[in-house]
Amino acid sequence: MSLGLEHYLVLSAALFSIGLYGALTKRSAVVILMSIELMLNAANIALVAFSRYIVPALLTGQVFTIFSIVVAAAEATVGLAIIMAIYRSRETIDTTKIDLMKW
């Protein structure tokens, strides 16, 4: 059995769903951040797969993915920095307990 576009897309969808589930249900801000990274990488797989199977001559999907990875890295940096700052002042990273702005 050879691998086709569908296999990659199913993998991507599965990863995305796992990430989504994590992002919506987990309480720890770090785990949520990891889940979001998972979702981003699911999208990257889809991009590369589409690029590879639909326009094999072009590298648009790959190039786009590299951009996306850079953005994801920056996002993780900022996100972790925020989490660190919150932890220092509130001593928790439980998202349900960070509700200072709520009425």
Binding site: A23, L24, T95, T96, D99, M101, K102, W103
Partner: protein, 663 residues
């Protein structure tokens, strides 16, 4: 310098200040921390831009059609539908704006060396001035609306950051927010116009849009709405009625910033935008008429408020709004050359007025004119330059303001007689309020300055502040002479056929004399009240008390916007208003009549209870229902981002399923 400027150097005009911003923010501030170096870098960069701008101007004078063609790059290409270039449009309009922006920016930055000396935010100040200048230069040079919008927002951002420069003062922080939000309302119209033009024509290239309008392809309602949307952006940026409220508050920023951004350049960007897109306005009578009417109304409306302010910078702020109104009027009735000519002159004399105001506050520690006075003797240079600028803005022959103001008046008398009379009244008011400032600040005896001021005796400002003022004073006298024989107009509009009367020839006509007499009367009245004291200001204030109250409360526009529109939002506010009206007026009226009248009292007590239970109940019920609904709906706003995320996902799923099953 007969050679045409190389293309790369044209790009440098706005890259130099951006580079200076980056060097100061990323290198000088963190690693060297040498404030004076920041100033020098910024000033050298803008000086380089000024030299290059002059070169552009010289190249354009001999170029065919007064245009330079700069090769551009593809930037954003989406299939064949959208193709946005990264390019420059260098024509006579750009060249004039380049000169204005670089020259005023250079003078202001030199002046700031003295004014901002010792300020802890010195690096930030110069970095932001560089960034602002770069954005403003980009704004006037780019060749498509999308890039222009980007720079448009960037100057807005810099304006926000510089108004709030002393952000530890709540007034400054609030003024910055206000400026940002109010101009955003106008920008919404601009963005709408950009999207409309893109969807209707598929291009945002300014030259292409011009030719589409000229060829009659872009016509009718689309053209009118696009032009009005663009003008809405200009209203916000140029502080025209009814979005003028942010500019007087913007005076909380450092005074050189007011001179550069809120007098000479950024607020004139609105006028520039209309001039840049003028072919679109020209082919839509409605749009052009709107420009003229808004301009004419703003001119007189702002001038009335300028009459009664006691803060020197606020007088100048209202004066700026009023003069910007003149420019819009000039564009609306006369065309590009007339509006831009006033912009050109105004930039110099108004920047000078602001620098003068900064100089007197440097000496007295206040902007309140009631605490100044008598500065003529101790600050001769400031006095002389301020007087020249005041005469220029009042439109006294042969100073700069006279030439451009008279062109606006001359073209409005034929096209819009009503606006012409309003503009004439404004001439009188302008002369009056400017000389009110002059006599209050420089005439009479010194009234002590700010109570918190440590130096008891005011002193002349250092020469680093005086020199730029003298340069600007020379321009405030002479910048109008470029168009005495029509040279400026023909440069901007090669097809200009208007007959120019020459330096003395213009005095052979009645119109200049009428405006000169009106301006003279304004000056005389100011002299009579504030210097010779033949008339008492208090008595006149009482005589025209209703007007005084309306003007000094700025027509209650701030209250209208802040309380009614911004603070009490939506239906709750409406019903709270009804409830209040009911209990205050209807109830009180009915009660007063029925309770105090003993004969009908018992007879109507039943009616009263019906009123209390029935009518009040209904009205209160509506209000209470709204409040209660809000209370219930508030539960949905959990503040839990994950819950929101889940609903977003459910929504996407629902839409996807609907698309799969029903399409």
């Amino acid at each position: 310098m007969e050679t045409v400027i190389p293309n790369e150097l044209v790009w440098l005009i706005f890259l130099l200040p951006i580079l200076s911003f980056a060097v100061i923010a990323l290198f000088v501030r963190p690693f060297l921390n040498n404030p004076r170096l920041s100033g020098y870098i910024s000033i050298s960069a803008i000086f380089g831009s000024f030299i290059l701008s002059t070169w552009v101007l010289i190249s354009l004078l001999s170029a065919p059609g007064h245009e330079l063609v700069i090769p551009d790059f593809n930037w954003l290409v989406i299939d064949s539908a959208i193709n946005i270039h990264l390019g420059l449009m260098i024509d006579s309009l750009t060249a004039v704006m380049l000169i204005v922006v670089t020259l005023v920016s250079l003078m202001v930055q030199l002046y700031s060396q003295g004014y901002m000396k010792g300020d802890p935010g010195y690096h930030r100040y110069y970095a932001l001035l560089s960034l602002f200048t770069a954005s403003m230069l980009g704004l006037v040079m780019v060749d498509n609306l999308l890039l222009m919008f980007v720079f448009w927002e960037m100057v807005g951002l810099c304006s926000y950051l510089l108004i709030g420069f002393w952000f530890h003062r709540p007034a400054a922080a609030n003024a910055a927010k206000k400026a940002f939000i109010v101009t955003r309302i106008g920008d919404f119209g601009f963005l709408g116009a950009i999207l409309l033009l893109l969807s209707q024509t598929g291009t945002l290239d300014i030259a292409q849009l011009h030719s589409l309008a000229l060829a009659g392809v872009l016509t009718g309602t689309v053209l009118t709405w696009a032009a009005i949307g663009i003008f809405l952006g200009a209203i916000g940026k140029s502080a025209q009625f009814p979005l003028h409220v942010w500019l007087p508050d913007a005076m909380e920023g450092p005074t050189p910033v007011s001179a550069l951004i809120h007098a000479a350049t950024m607020v004139a960007a609105g006028v520039f935008l209309v001039a840049r897109m003028f072919p679109l306005f020209e082919h839509s009578e409605v749009a052009l008429l709107t420009v003229a009417i808004i301009g004419g109304l703003t001119a007189i409306f702002a001038a009335t408020m300028g009459l009664v302010m006691t803060d020197i910078k606020r007088v100048l702020a209202y004066s700026t709004i009023s003069q910007l109104g003149y420019m819009m009027l000039g564009l609306g009735v006369g065309g590009i050359a007339i509006g831009i000519f006033h912009l050109f002159n105004h930039a110099f004399f108004k920047a000078l007025l602001f620098l003068g105001a900064g100089s007197v506050s440097h000496a007295t520690g206040t902007f309140d004119m009631r605490q100044m006075g008598g500065l003529r003797k101790v600050m001769p240079w400031t006095y002389a330059t301020f007087l020249i600028a005041s005469l220029s803005i009042a439109g006294i022959w042969p100073l700069a303001g006279f030439w451009s103001k008279d062109e606006i008046l001359a073209s409005s008398i034929n096209n819009q007689p009503i606006l012409f009379y309003l503009a004439m009244v404004t001439v009188f008011m302008t002369a009056f309020y400017m000389f009110r400032v002059v006599f209050l600040t420089f005439g009479g005896q010194y009234r002590g300055g700010s109570p918190a001021n440590h130096s008891p005796r005011p002193h002349e400002s250092p020469s680093v502040m005086i020199t730029p003022m003298v340069v600007l004073a020379v321009l405030a006298v002479g910048s109008g002479w470029f168009n005495v024989t029509g040279g400026f107009s023909r440069f901007l509009e090669p097809s200009e056929t208007h007959v120019f009367q020459g330096f003395f020839g213009i005095l052979a006509h009645p119109l200049p004399w009428v405006s000169l007499i009106l301006a003279g009367a304004g000056i005389l009245l100011a002299y009579a009240i504030y210097s010779a004291r033949w008339l008492s200001a208090e008595r006149i204030g009482r005589l025209f008390e209703p007007f005084y109250v309306v003007f000094s409360n700025k027509y209650w526009f701030d209250e209208l916007y802040e309380n009614i529109i911004a603070r009490i939002v939506l239906l709750k506010g409406l019903f709270a208003g009804i409830k209040l009206f009911d209990s205050r007026f209807i109830d009180r009226g009915i009660n007063a009549f029925f309770i105090e009248n003993l004969v009908v009292r018992r007879f109507f007590s039943g009616l009263k209870s019906f009123d209390n239970r029935g009518i009040d109940g209904a009205v209160n019920g509506v209000a209470d229902t709204t409040v209660a609904t809000g209370r219930v709906l508030r539960i949905a706003q959990t503040g839990q981002l994950q819950l929101y995320g889940m609903f977003i996902i459910l929504g996407i799923l629902a839409i996807s399923l609907a698309l799969i099953f029903f399409s």
